[in-house]
């Protein structure tokens, strides 16, 4: 199994880094946060068509580039660093992986290429975002494929063109496709703490979905692992950026005749933050390598999600605290990451749920290494 990024992957990271550094400045992020759809179509077409990022992790036979969770993690990390605003996670990651893992062959062949090249923006409608075992409690499909129920949190629900919906069936769960504007589907924007990622409630009343696949517990768990690790990378990116900028701030800010970064309390806090970050980053990278290497279930994806979330949240808290009052203002950028941290923390399950999940897997497999 891989231990560190290959030279090619490092190269790729530089390319992606430059792109988001240029196109996802905090000025752009602040502007997009104020819009309804929350993304810039031009940047979207550049990253999907020109750079092909949306297809990175999807199989070549369905229009993707055939790379895996590691390369996707690189993209997510850079997006988290710059708080990229756009439907990448909802469409390419959530909907893309759902199709790849749950859809039948025909649906994949028809629909994955559109996700992979970004020409269609889809999103996944999951009625629970806390734990895979709770999915399907709120949305049900009848035998004709009519979907009824509601999902309170759907990423980019207002701007997506297509919904893929996981719904409870007589036995088990099925995957359904539905045009966003289809009769019986009602979409209402929800206010989120994190203005840089839009969410909506999707309510379905006998909406005529097309059944395109089955969701098994195994495939749902695998999906959960893949998306959790992608999200963990986003959090690591955000946390790294915050640490860099916070340390810089303490070097330049003077109080009591000295830079505040020379006060031992701040130095030690930053040292602890770096240790947490290094550990969470190692865990997250390793989870990506594991997913890339094998389909076997391990503790690492949940471990990565739990550690990255705790790390990002702790980092965001510290980033505000170490700035003092200015860190609590709207004008200062720190809160943008703080709010992303808070939402990422609970999206796909809060840390304590992932720790519980780790222990379940650990007991099943009894094999940590």
């Amino acid at each position: 199994m891989q231990t560190v990024l290959s030279d090619d992957q490092v190269q790729f990271k530089h390319v992606v880094h430059r792109f988001f550094d240029t196109h996802s400045t905090t000025t752009a992020v602040r502007a997009l946060a104020e819009t309804e759809t929350g993304f810039d179509p031009l940047v979207w077409s550049q990253l999907s068509e020109t750079l092909g990022l949306t297809g990175t992790h999807l199989p070549e036979q369905y229009g993707g580039h055939g790379f895996g969770p590691v390369e996707l993690g690189i993209i997510q990390e850079e997006m988290g660093r710059t708080l990229y605003c756009g439907p990448f996670f909802s469409s390419a990651v959530m909907a893309g992986y759902a199709l790849e893992r749950f859809a039948d062959e025909a649906a994949k062949t028809e629909r994955l290429p559109q996700i992979a090249d970004g020409s269609i923006r889809a999103t996944l409608v999951l009625d629970d975002l806390n734990h895979p075992s709770q999915v399907g409690r709120l949305i049900a499909a009848d035998q004709a494929g009519a979907l009824t129920g509601s999902a309170p949190i759907v990423l980019d629900g207002c701007s997506a063109e297509v919904f893929f919906i996981v719904a409870r069936e007589d036995s088990g769960l099925g995957l359904y496709a539905l045009a966003a504007k289809a009769p019986g589907a009602e979409v209402s924007a929800q206010d989120s703490i994190d203005m840089t990622r839009k969410v909506a409630r999707v309510t379905l009343q006998e909406a005529a979905g097309t059944r395109i696949g089955s969701v098994t517990p195994q495939s749902l768990n695998r999906f959960w692992d893949l998306t959790s690790v992608a999200l963990a990378h986003e959090m690591i990116g955000g946390a790294s950026r915050l640490l860099d900028e916070t340390v810089e701030y303490t070097k330049g800010r003077y109080q009591f005749g000295r830079p505040i970064g020379s006060f031992q309390a701040l130095k030690h806090r930053c040292a602890d933050l770096l240790m947490n970050l290094e550990f969470a980053k190692a865990a997250t990278q390793h989870a990506g390598f594991c997913l890339a290497a094998s389909d076997q279930e391990t503790i690492y994806p949940s471990m990565a999600k739990a550690m990255a979330a705790d790390c990002f949240m702790e980092m965001a808290r510290a980033a505000i605290q170490l700035r003092g009052g200015i860190g609590f203002t709207w004008e200062n950028d720190t809160h943008l990451w703080f709010k992303r941290a808070k939402c990422d923390e609970v999206l796909l399950g809060a840390p304590y749920r992932h720790r519980a999940r780790m222990m379940d897997i650990l007991q099943e497999t009894q094999d940590v290494a």
């Binding site: 969410v199 003092g324 203002t329 703080f338 999206l347």
Partner: protein
């Protein structure tokens, strides 16, 4: 004066003078003239030289009879107490009555962008001209400055002395061209504070408090009043006017303006009071991992409450040696808020993301999650509190200071 005597005199006064149909200002003018507005103040300055116990009798009568008292809330109280203690006879005569009547609102102009924790590092300039002081600089975190008529201001009048010695304390008219007030929006969307830009603003020579170079001593007195108010404010709260009549309506409007900056303050404390109900509603209370964290929170909130009760019982019985209580309580409030936010997050799960009308308690929990960072900063950061506890309570040695020379030679921001 006997307590019964006080009560009788006050009730006679109220029977004769109070009417709910008076304007708020007119009523308070009567209170001020009679010495009932601030009875613990000196006879010579609108008071009656009452002891604290005697003043308490007065408060009780006001409360029982639901009579409106003097304007007390907000920074105006800091200004009043400071002027009373350190002001000249003329300053007292000029400013105190209109503070009590509520005709003049005040704000506090101490913090600066470049000196937050290091208040004595203020670098707003006060240059002495022939017949006035010329003020230039920027202040920040000025609650209610946009409503204020006057401000209490700390500025540097001498740059060659060590930092604490070069400050002076002024009373500044906020309604002049050289003073610009801009609201400062916080990360939780509220704008409880302002930035104040001072550009060739003027202060009359008479409006210096405590003498040139005495600014730090006077400011310290103001801060000490503020801290006492913080402790008191948490247990009392403002009395809610409940009756009909012009005086009550005008009071309600005054309080609305005074309290507006503080509407989110309960949220910055983490709202531990909502935890149990939320956990029961969501069913999270059945989860043993959540229960552990809830229990830790209950331990903290209960211990903080008990500890505060013990401190005030000690103080009532004239006990001492509990001075650190303020800093320990403040540090505790930070820990509580953090743990409460953590537990709220666990309880809400993915829906902790939501902040709109559909969210828990109509957005109160969401506002809590993005307000708690304030508690460990405002009024002295956790780091400052820990310094205070270590040095003043535990007697641990201070660090060598790097800022003892002439102020102009001290490395600082914006240089």
């Amino acid at each position: 004066m006997s307590h019964d005597g006080i009560k009788a005199a006050l009730e006679a006064f109220l029977d004769a003078e109070f009417s709910p149909d008076l304007s708020l200002v007119e009523w308070r003018k009567r209170l001020v003239s009679a010495g009932w507005a601030a009875p613990s103040w000196p006879d010579a300055y609108f008071g009656r030289d009452f002891s604290q116990a005697e003043a308490l009798v007065v408060s009780q009568v006001f409360a029982e009879r639901r009579v409106v008292g003097a304007a007390q809330v907000g920074p105006r109280r800091l200004a009043a107490e400071t002027i009373l203690a350190h002001g000249t006879h003329e300053q007292k005569q000029r400013y105190l009555p209109k503070i009590l009547t509520g005709e003049h609102a005040w704000c506090q102009l101490f913090s600066e962008p470049g000196s937050g924790s290091d208040l004595a590092g203020a670098s707003t300039r006060a240059d002495r001209k022939a017949d006035h002081w010329l003020i230039n600089g920027q202040k920040v975190w000025n609650t209610s400055a946009h409503h204020a008529d006057f401000g209490i201001l700390v500025a540097r009048s001498n740059w060659d002395l060590p930092k604490h010695q070069g400050l002076s304390y002024f009373l500044i008219d906020m309604r002049q061209p050289g003073v610009e007030v801009r609201p400062l929006k916080q990360m939780n969307g509220h704008a409880s504070f302002n930035e104040v830009f001072l550009t060739d603003a003027r202060v009359a020579l008479d409006d210096l408090v405590g003498g040139e170079g005495q600014g730090w001593a006077v400011a310290t007195a103001t801060l000490s009043i503020e801290r006492q108010g913080f402790a008191r404010g948490r247990s009392q709260g403002a009395p809610a006017p409940a009756s009909a009549g012009r005086v009550y309506e005008e009071l309600a409007r005054e309080l609305e303006i005074d309290n507006e900056p503080y509407t989110w303050y309960p949220q910055r404390e983490g709202r531990p009071d909502l935890i149990l109900q939320r956990a029961q509603e969501t069913g999270a209370i059945e989860d043993d991992a959540v229960r552990q964290e809830m229990a830790k929170l209950v331990c903290l909130t209960e211990a903080a409450r008990i500890s505060a009760d013990q401190v005030s019982a000690h103080q009532k019985s004239g006990g001492q040696g509990m001075l650190p209580a303020g800093s320990i309580g403040k540090l505790g409030a930070s820990v509580i808020a953090r743990q409460a936010a953590h537990v709220h997050t666990m309880i809400s799960g993915a829906s902790a993301m939501l902040s709109g009308p559909e969210s828990a308690f109509e957005g109160v929990i969401a506002e809590t999650l993005i307000s708690v960072p304030a508690i460990s900063i405002a009024g002295g950061t956790d780091e400052i509190q820990r310094n205070i506890i270590a040095e003043r309570v535990l007697g641990m040695p201070k660090e060598q200071r790097m800022d003892t020379g002439p102020f102009r030679d001290i490395p600082r921001n914006g240089q």
